[in-house]
């Protein structure tokens, strides 16, 4: 079994994971259908007045996309940890309370409504998706509170039903949409990372990083809350306050991630489990390691999505499920003895 967590072990593991992430980021930037030389790229946008293609590809195309993948992966994995803890349910993922269908519905409405104005040079689909996502989580949270103040069943059921209802509305909108409108939304629904401009990237990253760092401070009380709300209260943890902050922050960063990348499945479910299997369930460690792991996983998956059918691209959501599924099952079998049984 895993030895008890100490600040030193946590710091060591987190630094190692961060170093590993840096390596993954760098190697991903070097890989692509177009060969790029780092040394040449470092010369800047122009060499002797001639545009430098290495720089262009790296700085305008690959690096923003890789950073976006890292941010989205980190956000989804961190919220996955939070939702699994708060709902005390290992099947929970960041989408379970309606973020996905809400975002999808928002995006569909933007497309169908023919919204033509732009925001920071991009289509407002993302904004509509963001509003849809947050609005839906808020709705589900409200219903859950009314049905059972001390039970997660009401919350989960509300999430499932709202998800189903909004999915039906999405289907309805798809069935009446024009074909060229469809392509854009379907690609978005499948989960898709595209090149972002730097401004959007800075805003998104700022939101997500702040959220994740704030979540780190909830790790210790989340341990006892994941065992039981009443136990947490008896021990002296302000349960309502911790829960509300954790829910609000993780719903927010998920909504940001979803509005930037569409619905990328699987990251928020399997990364927390994989980290838990290997390093144990302590949330103080689970949160930083899952965030870094989610970033690595999504960057790697997106690299595969970029190159495997080049010059065409796969939706990254397809890759996360196809790589992540078998990998996770292997891990599950390899570690099941360690977690469930034997000494």
């Amino acid at each position: 079994m895993h030895p008890p967590l100490t600040p030193r072990i946590l710091l060591l593991r987190t630094s190692l994971a961060a170093a590993l992430l840096a390596a993954v980021l760098l190697s991903s930037a070097m890989v692509g259908p177009q060969p790029v030389r780092l040394k040449t790229a470092l010369h800047g946008p122009q060499i002797h007045g001639v545009p430098n293609p290495h720089y262009e590809i790296l700085v305008r195309v690959r690096v923003p996309r890789i950073l976006l993948a890292a941010m989205v992966g980190a956000a989804l994995a961190a919220s996955g940890v939070i939702f699994q803890a708060l709902l005390r349910n290992p099947l929970a993922d960041p989408y379970i309370l309606g973020v996905s269908s809400g975002a999808g519905l928002g995006a569909m409405l933007a497309v169908i409504g023919g919204v033509s104005w732009t925001l920071w040079g991009r289509s407002p689909i993302a904004l509509f998706a963001f509003i849809g996502a947050l609005g839906t989580v808020w709705l589900v949270w409200g219903i859950g509170r009314v049905t059972g103040k001390y039970q997660v069943t009401g919350l989960l059921l509300a999430g499932v039903v709202v998800n189903a209802f909004f999915s039906a509305m999405i289907m309805f909108l798809i069935s009446i949409a024009k074909s060229q409108q469809l392509y854009a939304t379907l690609f978005w629904l499948m989960g898709n990372l595209t090149e972002e401009n730097w401004f959007v990237l800075w805003v998104g990253s700022g939101c997500i990083l702040t959220g994740i760092v704030a979540l780190f401070f909830l790790g210790a009380p989340l341990n006892i809350i994941s065992v039981g709300r009443q136990d947490a209260r008896n021990i002296g943890v302000p349960v309502e306050r911790v829960e509300l902050s954790a829910f609000a922050i993780s719903a927010f960063i998920t909504a940001v991630a979803v509005s930037l990348s569409g619905l990328i499945g699987f990251v928020g479910l399997i990364v927390p489990h994989a980290v838990r299997l290997v390093f144990g369930p302590d949330h103080r460690q689970l949160l930083p390691l899952s965030s870094l792991g989610g970033a690595m996983f999504l960057v790697a998956a997106d690299t595969v999505a970029r190159i495997v059918v080049a010059p065409a691209q796969l939706p990254v959501g397809v890759v996360t499920a196809m790589i992540g599924g078998p990998f996770f099952l292997l891990l599950l079998v390899a570690h099941s003895k360690k977690v469930y049984g034997g000494t």
């Binding site: 136990d231 008896n234 002296g236 349960v239």
Partner: protein, 287 residues
């Protein structure tokens, strides 16, 4: 004797038509070991939850060290009262050590880590409950008895003067049952803790507990104070008085056999078969 927890005319019901507890007066003395018994649905767990500050009475008051229990903040209350609950939901495979350490959560530094003092307290709690030897094992790999000791260790690590336990010996074999009561008794005697335990085992309570509360709902709808066969819907006092054979018979509405062994009294419930077995003089088993 000063009261650690004091209930004054406490009434509670989950619906207004069906009160579960009506007009309970109770003093839990500092350093005493109180057993709470009664039929299923009589409100034993409800009473524990009222004392733990999870539920609030509809009328009446609960005092902790002479002060309204519900005026304590979550943290202040947790410094006074630790609770061992009945249910256990396996979640995420925490180890025994991690589980016991959770009791120290409110004392963690702002970075979310325990101090050396916290760790020493956990080590002590593990030692006292004899759980140190499987400290690194996952909670779901333990037997029910071992797990119960871990939850008692967690309550001890919380370092409170008062300990509330909801059926600490259910699901345990008789050896484990006595082991848990031995442990609780040693906690009471060595640390001067006040202990309140809900129990179905009258005989263990007779051996170990100084005081008792017997809840007796005479009708399913709740305590019927007008029913002449039900003189009171609860009794409190020294254990051997409250758990007198006729009180047990009336509360549980079951035939019983009682006998003494030395100075200890034992009570044995008797079902329908017992009458035919000619164990008792006629008339001793209630129809």
């Amino acid at each position: 004797m000063t009261a650690a927890i004091q209930l004054n005319q406490v009434c509670f019901g989950y619906s207004s038509q069906r009160p579960i507890l009506a007009g309970i007066d109770l003093n839990v003395g500092v350093g005493s070991f109180l057993a709470v018994a009664g039929p299923n649905g009589a409100g034993k767990s409800t009473l524990i939850q009222l004392m733990a500050g999870i539920l609030r009475p509809q009328s009446g008051s609960v005092l902790l060290d002479g002060r309204n229990l519900y005026s304590y903040g979550v943290r202040d209350l947790a410094r006074k009262i630790a609770v061992v609950r009945q249910e256990f939901l396996p979640a995420f495979g925490f180890s025994v050590y991690e589980t016991v350490l959770m009791a120290r959560t409110p004392n963690y530094s702002q970075w979310g880590f325990e101090s050396r003092e916290d760790r020493e307290m956990v080590a002590q709690a593990l030692k006292r409950t004899d759980t140190a030897k499987f400290a690194s094992r996952s909670l779901d790999s333990l037997s029910a008895g071992e797990r119960q000791r871990v939850f008692i260790a967690r309550a001890l690590a919380q370092d409170t003067p008062i300990l509330l336990l909801d059926e600490p010996t259910s699901f345990l074999d008789i050896r484990q049952q006595t082991a848990i009561y031995d442990l609780l008794k040693s906690i009471q005697q060595e640390s001067g803790s006040t202990i309140v335990a809900v129990t179905h085992d009258i005989n263990l309570a007779l051996q170990y507990c100084d005081e008792a509360l017997l809840l007796c709902p005479c009708r399913r709808e709740g305590p019927d104070l007008t029913n002449p066969t039900c003189s009171a819907h609860y009794r409190t006092g020294p254990t051997h008085e409250v758990f007198a054979p006729e009180e047990i018979r009336r509360a549980f509405r079951v035939g019983i056999f009682s006998g003494t062994l030395g100075s200890e009294r034992f009570i044995l419930p008797l079902g329908k078969r017992a009458k035919d077995a000619n164990l008792l003089p006629p008339g001793d088993v209630e129809k």
